[in-house]
């Protein structure tokens, strides 16, 4: 039996991002399309960063998750255009990042992307907006390191791109 694409999307909503497992690949906004081509389920995925090491793992995880649901013919395709933006992270995804201790990216990325000093982050621990950037890169290419001037804790900020 062939599940409809909404059901498949629900399933994909349970596939975690390998680097930030608090958020799913659907929350991240990288699943661009799900559809049937004859008896093959095709999932279009857009990479976050060109060199993100998680990209290959994500494709494998999606395929594995769908096979576990009983789908036999699954194809994960890479879609390059339009390029991924952090604006595509869902509101649920942003909340999950925050709960996980990562400050979510500033919205309307096109206005500030590429310039860290144009972006601000509230501390995910105490909520203070009195924070400062420490370094443009964090534990992954997509994050920067910030510090809260009030509670003094360091934290990751998901850069707008």
């Amino acid at each position: 039996m062939r599940p409809d694409t909404d059901t498949v999307r629900d399933w994909l909503g349970e596939v975690p991002d390998p680097e930030i497992p608090a958020i799913s690949v659907v929350d991240l906004g990288i699943v661009r399309d799900v559809g049937w081509e004859d008896d093959t389920l095709v999932v279009d995925v857009t990479p976050t960063y060109a060199g993100c090491p998680a990209t290959l793992v994500i494709a494998l995880d999606i395929e594995t998750a769908l096979r576990e649901r009983g789908l036999e013919k699954v194809e994960v395709r890479r879609r390059m255009s339009p390029p991924w933006s952090t604006d595509w992270i869902s509101p649920e995804g942003r909340q999950k990042l925050l709960d996980y201790g990562i400050a979510p990216p500033q919205l309307n990325a096109a206005n500030c992307a590429g310039v860290l000093s144009a972006q601000s982050a509230a501390c995910p621990l105490c909520g203070s907006e009195n924070t400062e950037a420490i370094a443009a890169r964090g534990s992954t290419p997509c994050k920067a390191q910030f510090r809260c001037r009030d509670c003094r804790e360091p934290f990751d900020y998901f850069k707008a791109i």
Partner: protein
């Protein structure tokens, strides 16, 4: 070789060799944040390399994969600009090399966003977002260390003196670029040079560093002529796949 293949290799080889050089800082940079930053930037560059090699391999039509292009070509077959193969002498050199590259790479990627070649346009529109972050970091550090202590300024000036002549190789062009410009694949590259000159002049002024005025320029990397460091880089980068050519993860 086809002009499109040559151009994609010139771009991809340049990002690959810089990515390889940059990744070597992992575990060695003076502070943890910059250690992570260099390693992460190397990832971006190697990811972009993959995209350039995919376009090259498809245009070439010989069934080679991006890995074949990275690991099974010899020194004279690599078409990277000489700048990126200059050694990791110290943090100042690595940073200056990165900044000079970024000062060219950003306007180049911005120009390629208007390419008439769809795959190149898609690549550029993706990469340009990453490259903006690269120059945002390297420019900031050039200014902080140039306009810093006597020691940091002296180190940054020494790095600029050593590396500036090689920046010319990033912008060296020949019949390959002319052919692609005539086909609409490449935009007018003169504006990339103008953007590079404006960017570096403004930043070096803020950093209180002097751009060498002697006019020395080193070119040749984009036709396969390399400096003495290149063989060592390839030996390290290619050693495992050449020793075990059929190995799989």
């Amino acid at each position: 070789m086809d002009s499109l293949v040559t151009f994609c290799l010139r771009m991809g080889d340049t990002t690959l060799i810089l990515g390889q050089q940059t990744a070597a800082w992992c575990g060695h940079a003076p502070v943890l944040e910059e250690d992570i930053a260099f390693a992460n930037m190397g990832l971006d560059l190697i990811g972009q390399t993959q995209l350039w090699y995919e376009i090259a391999a498809e245009a070439e039509g010989r069934g080679r994969t991006p890995d074949d292009l990275a690991f099974f070509r010899t020194e004279r077959q690599f078409l990277n600009a000489q700048l990126v193969e200059r050694p990791n002498t110290d943090f100042a050199h690595a940073l200056m090399r990165q900044y000079l590259f970024d000062a060219w790479h950003l306007p180049m990627q911005e120009a390629l966003c208007e390419s008439g070649h769809e795959a190149i346009r898609d690549l550029a529109r993706k990469s340009v977002k990453e490259v903006r972050y690269h120059i945002n970091r390297s420019r900031d550090l050039i200014v902080r260390l140039g306009d810093g202590s006597d020691e940091s300024r002296a180190k940054m000036q020494a790095a600029l003196d050593a590396l500036w002549p090689y920046a010319a190789d990033l912008m060296a062009t020949d019949a390959v670029e002319e052919t692609l410009a005539a086909q609409g694949v490449l935009p007018d590259l003169a504006r990339v040079r103008r953007a590079f000159e404006a960017e570096t002049a403004a930043t070096m002024a803020r950093a209180t560093l002097d751009i060498p005025a002697n006019g020395h320029a080193r070119t040749g990397g984009r036709t396969g002529i390399h400096t003495e460091t290149m063989g060592y880089i390839l030996a390290e980068m290619q050693q495992v796949p050449r020793s075990y050519p059929d190995a799989r993860w």
